[in-house]
Assembly symmetry: C2
Homo-oligomer: 530 residues x 2
């Protein structure tokens, strides 16, 4: 099966032509449409009456999904074929949460045992006292995914007394950042468990921050090796060179940005909350992974979302899009999503290595409402170009309001206000409001979708993650790009290595040999040498 480019598919050409009709949301919207244009799983409801689609578009979506063989390609992926051809690897992040999951259940069992040992106090810090805090050192997928999980579930866990350890992350190589962290938390340094995460074991930010940590521990006279655990690939340089308390493994077939349901996220979630939280996350992800097998695009939420985003990008020509959760706890989830989306589909060659003649991944932006309303929403309502918005809302708060008497009324009112604001923004963007004063006029017709969950809890978080991961996968299939490599980050790494080598060769004045090196040095020295 050789996949075709998007513009070689008949259904896409038809969609492209149909877009010229200029569908208007105001003409289409009705109470009936609001009831009909929805799709559901146990955890998620996807409302698409605010998208610029009608029955004809939906039929073409179905046809496009078939012509692009979306379901069979998803099955090919989960079967373990080497579909990441550039890196000659399989793509196995779904296997971590599959019901059979024989491949990874042993590792998760080891994590459970370890977390339970830390919680019960049988595993202690180097000075023999229980761990009080866990800090993960990692960057990219080893940072944003796990951080988004902890942030998303923190209010839920706090209100249930489920937070077992304090937690933090160190990611950037910026020494000011590391220094501030240390100063603020110096009182728990001796009882901090450090999780060092790098799949390859050679990520420069992570290994240098580990070196910095070691230097600090040496200065304090602490045997840091007993406070360190690793998450890495088997036999990585990191594993071979690091004495530590324990090591948990990740598979080379799971890419960094898709690794949060592997040991990369499972260890810290199990330590900070409990292994049960992680099991519920996996359950929620599994629900959507299974829903994503559905051939009918009206009942396959991630596939429908992917088809709509292709329509918005390639037929309606929107170059960026927003995801706006009405929950502060999801702010870092959006950053994780931005990473996963842009790194996966910010490509311009197809699976054969040929240049693609159409637009691929748009820029993804977003942050929690209502704050975003007071920030960039002016532009979304009246800016000169259109940004489709996907809102995420929750019927219930994460905290159990009934126990919060006598202030429960305030909590309830604020949650109502939150959701009333969400719907009001949705309404204003999609339907607008005519005014004779152009300054106060709102054209509307700016498409939005809604993603509604009962509550932000471990299971719905897992479902949300998988919904977006699978959306990105289906988009990649449609654009015919390899969503699982990241060749675009390699050149910058190479150049940084060159600059570093030149620095070591000559400490006083930087000099280069090739034309590239000379120019690189010149720009560096004009910028940073006095």
């Amino acid at each position: 099966m050789t996949p075709l480019n998007l513009d070689q598919l008949d259904a896409f050409s038809q969609l492209f032509s149909y877009a010229k009709n200029g569908l208007r949301l105001k003409d289409m919207m009705s109470v009936k449409r609001v009831k009909d244009f929805q799709a559901h799983t146990a955890s998620l409801s996807y409302h698409f009456y605010g998208a610029k689609i009608d029955q004809n578009v939906l039929q073409l979506f179905q046809k496009l999904s078939e012509q692009s063989n979306l379901i069979s390609r998803y099955k090919e992926l989960t079967s373990g074929s080497l579909i990441n051809k550039t890196e000659n690897r399989a793509v196995l992040h779904h296997a971590v949460r599959s019901s059979s999951k024989t491949l990874y259940s042993d590792e998760f069992n080891r994590i459970k045992t370890f977390a339970n040992g830390v919680h019960s106090g049988t595993i202690t810090s180097s000075n023999g006292t229980p761990f009080k805090k866990v800090v993960q050192i990692g960057i990219g997928g080893s940072y944003l995914g796990p951080k988004s999980f902890l942030d998303a579930l923190m209010p839920y866990a706090i209100s249930r007394n489920d937070v077992k350890l304090k937690s933090d992350f160190i990611s950037n190589i910026d020494p000011d950042s590391f220094y501030s962290y240390l100063h603020a938390e110096s009182s728990v340094f001796n009882e901090t468990l450090w999780i060092i995460v790098s799949k390859s074991g050679s990520t420069i930010e992570t290994t240098e921050n580990l070196n910095l940590l070691r230097a600090i521990a040496d200065k304090k006279g602490i045997d840091i090796s007993k406070n360190i655990v690793l998450v890495t690939q088997k036999k990585s340089r990191l594993e071979q060179e690091t004495t530590c308390l324990n090591t948990f493994y990740i598979d080379e077939n799971i890419g960094g940005r898709f690794s949060v349901t592997s040991a990369v996220g499972a260890l810290i979630v199990s330590l900070v909350f409990s292994p049960t939280y992680m099991e519920s996350i996996l359950k929620g992800s599994r629900e959507i992974d299974e829903n994503s097998l559905n051939k009918n695009c009206l009942t396959n939420l991630a596939m429908l979302n992917a088809l709509n985003s292709i329509w918005e990008r390639n037929c309606l020509n929107y170059s960026y899009k927003a995801v706006i959760p009405y929950s502060e706890a999801l702010n870092s989830f959006i950053l994780h999503l931005q990473q996963t989306d842009c790194e996966s589909n910010g490509k311009q060659v197809n699976q054969n290595g040929d240049f693609i003649p159409y637009q691929t991944g748009p820029m993804l932006v977003g942050s929690a409402g209502t704050n975003s309303q007071h920030s960039y929403f002016q532009k979304f309502h009246q800016g000169s170009d259109v940004c489709p918005v996907q809102f995420i809302g929750f019927k219930k708060t994460q905290i159990d309001i009934s126990v919060e008497d006598p202030i429960s009324d305030n909590f309830k009112r604020n949650h109502n206000l939150l959701n009333e604001n969400l719907i009001s923004q949705f309404f204003a963007l999609t339907l607008g409001n005519q005014s004779r004063d152009p300054r106060k006029n709102f054209d509307g017709n700016r498409p939005c979708t809604l993603l509604i969950c009962d509550q932000l809890n471990p299971e719905t978080l897992g479902a949300l993650l998988s919904f977006y991961e699978n959306t990105i996968m289906f988009q990649g299939f449609l654009w015919n790009v390899n969503s699982f490599d990241q060749e675009g980050v390699e050149l910058g790494k190479k150049l940084a290595t060159s600059l570093g080598q030149l620095r070591k060769q000559s400490t006083s004045t930087y000099e280069g040999n090739t034309q590239t090196e000379k120019l690189l040095q010149k720009i560096y020295s004009e910028s940073f040498n006095n």
Copy 2:
């Protein structure tokens, strides 16, 4: 003086035509260009050799700045004319930091006295003990600006033992967020000073969070009025209805998103660090405000940046742009910048209220490097569209590395790596690298600029703020929009009020009268009622 639309200016037409020549960075770049294409103030260096501009473009920039009367319009603004016509107000945020600053020096003196009183312990919390923490409740400009100042200076202040109080912000109406904050910080509740910031005094998020705070204090039996200070307009409803420790005033002629150098930011900066920090910030801002008066665009940094961004938006057709600081401490500064830029220039009518036939403010994205390299930079390097990047770099760390022996070498190496990465990304984006394998090919020719400071400290922070504020102002002049109103956020507020009223009228089933209300209710109940 009736300002003209951008497309009515001869210099713009010439720029638009000239863009068709397709300037290529690789052809233009040279060691000479790297030396020549720079502009400096005492605090900032602006390097524009990575922008797609040549001497012809620079000459047209100068001509455009003159045809658009940029300097005289800036002078008209600072003179106090009612240039914000929609709201019939002047735009006076520059006056807060001007060398004459008679208008606001009294208020800043009151802030100094208050902050010194809190630090010395003469002003205490309601239980008679010194304040330990300050929490600002505000949203939009009352949140992101002040938060960006505290975050930006925290490592600097920590390393100099200048942090006098713990600090935090509550902005969102999301009750889960407020609840988590309270739980995490319940031990200092009695010694927390609450700054309630709302210019109008009727911002719903802020007044409802204040109500929630009062309810919690009542439950705890604390007289919270003695732990509250206000920052608001004179005679606002908030002032009239709130018993409190003290009130500081902001002028109605200073818009929320431009208010961080007024009492909105000055109070919390003075309390957490010291009034001296705020004075240095103002000094840095003043330096750029004065530089912005320069008629020569080659020496006026903000004006040059604005002209280049118009060129990139309206002639080269880039629909979003990024600002990437190589400092974790500037992450929230970028969010503040995003807010200020998008809310100011995300418009589509001109000063006369006529529809504008060209693109205005692009979407602004960004976050700290090197983290962003591991997130969305794949897309910046090889995505199907171009995102111009402005990098911000610092010659020195915020911390004084020499005192950090024996780990100073690690800190120094990491800071070198940070800046080497910055330059490598700049190089890869602008110049690229040819490869026969399309997957490993980097076209380059993706424009970037550099903003270099000696160190991220109070003075350079003030300079950076003013650089961006004035860039946004000049952009607004060029697009001929009113950068100081925000009509686009009004409709959503109105609709939310309608939904809230309908909720109060009928607690069981929501019902509406008008067609709009019925549909609004329907969407709300399909989403959030079970």
